[in-house]
Symmetry: C2
Subunit: 371 residues, 2 copies
């Protein structure tokens, strides 16, 4: 009820407003397949790049969330998006003006999909504007910044969620369910291989100032996060080994390939690979006393495929970002608890691990973790 | 020709002897499916345990090799084997008497299938008796002992081969062929997961004095060896992390679970796991610029299964030990060069890596390798 009240306050400060919200009416008309008539999360996307576009497209099918605004430094992109997604002029902002979202009763939340290093200040500014924040992963470029973001959102009494789309993926959730139900027995080993060959060397993901790192920030984080939700424990140590074959493309501080290992309190271990220089790497494997589970592909945007020792996983594919945004609306408005957290604290844990992996790779030492 | 001459000399010292060797005649009669009429490698097995039994059974189908003798400390086992495999009394030895194999013209080679720590002295004794030696892996419990074995066999002018059965497995060889032919492109990553849940805690494999270690000596060596023949390079560094959950079963010096990583000169990396405490771990995965290859199961005794980015591997299953023994006869008598070496030098390389893995696990340091 608390979160429902929050939502209503965000709308216009009155319960009446909810009943006449145009966004809610539109969503109700569009969702012929369901009878959802609860509140719709009205979202502005900050950062209109390729992933922002993917989220916008996926949100067309959302029932509980709707794209209603944009924040961008490129006026021509704003024009395009306005036309494409029917976004009113009053819901458009640039990076100088977006603090004014505070006074916009038609936006409930901002989804920050900008280069990693910018998340920290942008999320804090959104929080100060009194709007809920969804922040794309990695939440920031180190745990200290991440914690400041959590604190700022708490202080502003807004929700902070991280764009962990796999936390809503049906086959992933089935494995987590099986593990929690004890159907796999004691977990012994997790393997996460995450990587692809990154193209254009001039992109922001290879610019340390904007990315805060290389493959680890972008794709290795899936293995980190996957290790945690697959094993169901927090790692207590990490070791890591970095390999760089292309020093021109992957400059100082931008990791090309890092192998890393975890130990867990229950005795399980994990072996992971993060790389920007190999293809065919999108695999999770979980070994346990009573059986195994594997996903391949495990984190790509397309259909996830997988099997356990009991057989093929047959949960239907859903567009990850569609489900993520609908579920996040449920978290924000209904106080729903997802099977795996997607809040800021979850994001900070991954950042603490990334900090430790970088330290382990640099020093060659085993780094103990306390999450 | 050199090796053929060697063989002939081993028989009785005269070319005539070859033509009337009962073993050769028997093999010719038994091998209806082929027209092989070359020399047959007449083998005595030392160590009549479960793996020795497996080799003996597999050798029933050999065309170029034949079980003709036994060496055991257990008289009842010798009796059983004599009856089962039609072994004459004069080809039976125990651990006190087996040096006398020197004077037995009907035995060409001894296959040493005893606990790891015994290989060193036993192989040297066989070499001194002037017989070729096949030594089960691991060749010994450290590289120093292994090198002494190589030197002793060289000095005695006998061949020393290590029981690397996977070096003759058809699907494995197809991947190696593809890699060598450049069909996979530059190799980037190898993963070898090798392990099983070991049973009886009183067995010699869990006794450091006899085994020289734990899972690494027994099963981790497949991942080490596999990394080398799959990548096609020798590793230049290794890191390792040991985890022990059962200190009662896995005592000091007997490893339960070790994760280890390699770096290769061409920039490829490998991530491996050796364990005596998990099931479902028998997987190789090779990632390269133009595609991938995987084997699962990758090293078990049964049919190996696998695929590459070009499709399923369809090479027919062969009993590994049958092919191994036939091929080893070809190496010994015909000087055949297998696609991947199985000689003592190959064994020493794996032992140097095992030495380094143990050091890396103990010190936490990256250990540089020169193979």
């Amino acid at each position: 009820m608390q979160s429902r009240r929050d939502f209503i306050q965000k709308l216009t400060g009155s319960v009446i407003a909810l009943q006449i919200s145009p966004a809610v009416i539109a969503a109700s008309c569009n969702s012929a397949v369901t009878h959802y008539d609860g509140p719709v999360l009205r979202v502005a996307i900050m950062g209109l790049g390729s992933y922002g576009t993917r989220v916008a497209e996926a949100m067309k099918d959302c029932k509980k969330a709707k794209l209603v605004g944009v924040i961008s430094g490129t006026p021509s992109k704003i024009k395009d998006w306005q036309a494409k997604y029917n976004i009113p002029e009053k819901n458009c902002y640039n990076y100088e003006t977006f603090d004014q979202v505070k006074n916009n009763p038609d936006i409930d939340a901002v989804y920050v999909i900008t280069p990693n290093a910018l998340h920290h200040h942008q999320v804090i500014r959104v929080a100060k504007a009194g709007k809920h924040v969804i922040c794309e992963k990695p939440m920031s470029i180190n745990a200290k910044d991440g914690q400041e973001m959590v604190d700022a959102c708490k202080k502003a009494n807004v929700k902070l969620l991280v764009g962990y789309r796999m936390h809503f993926e049906p086959k992933t959730l089935e494995i987590i369910r099986m593990r929690k139900a004890g159907e796999l027995g004691k977990v012994l080993f997790f393997q996460g291989l995450c990587g692809f060959n990154i193209g254009d060397p001039t992109q922001w993901r290879l610019n340390k100032q904007l990315s805060g790192g290389g493959s680890m920030m972008d794709i290795g984080i899936y293995a980190i996060n996957g290790a945690r939700y697959m094993v169901g424990e927090e790692p207590i140590w990490v070791t890591a080994q970095e390999t760089k074959t292309n020093h021109e493309k992957f400059k100082e501080g931008v990791d090309e390939t890092i192998q890393f290992q975890f130990g867990f309190p229950g005795g399980a271990v994990a072996s992971c690979l993060s790389t920007y220089a190999m293809n065919n790497l999108d695999r999770f494997f979980l070994d346990a006393e009573k059986g195994y589970a594997e996903l391949y592909p495990s984190t790509g945007y397309g259909p996830i495929q997988g099997r356990t020792s009991k057989g093929e996983l047959t949960q239907p594919h859903v567009t990850h970002q569609t489900v993520q945004m609908d579920e996040m609306a449920g978290i924000i408005f209904e106080g729903k608890q997802p099977p795996v957290p997607v809040d800021g604290e979850e994001g900070v844990k991954d950042l603490k691990i990334i900090d430790a992996i970088f330290e382990a790779a640099k020093t060659g030492k085993k780094i103990n973790l306390k999450l």
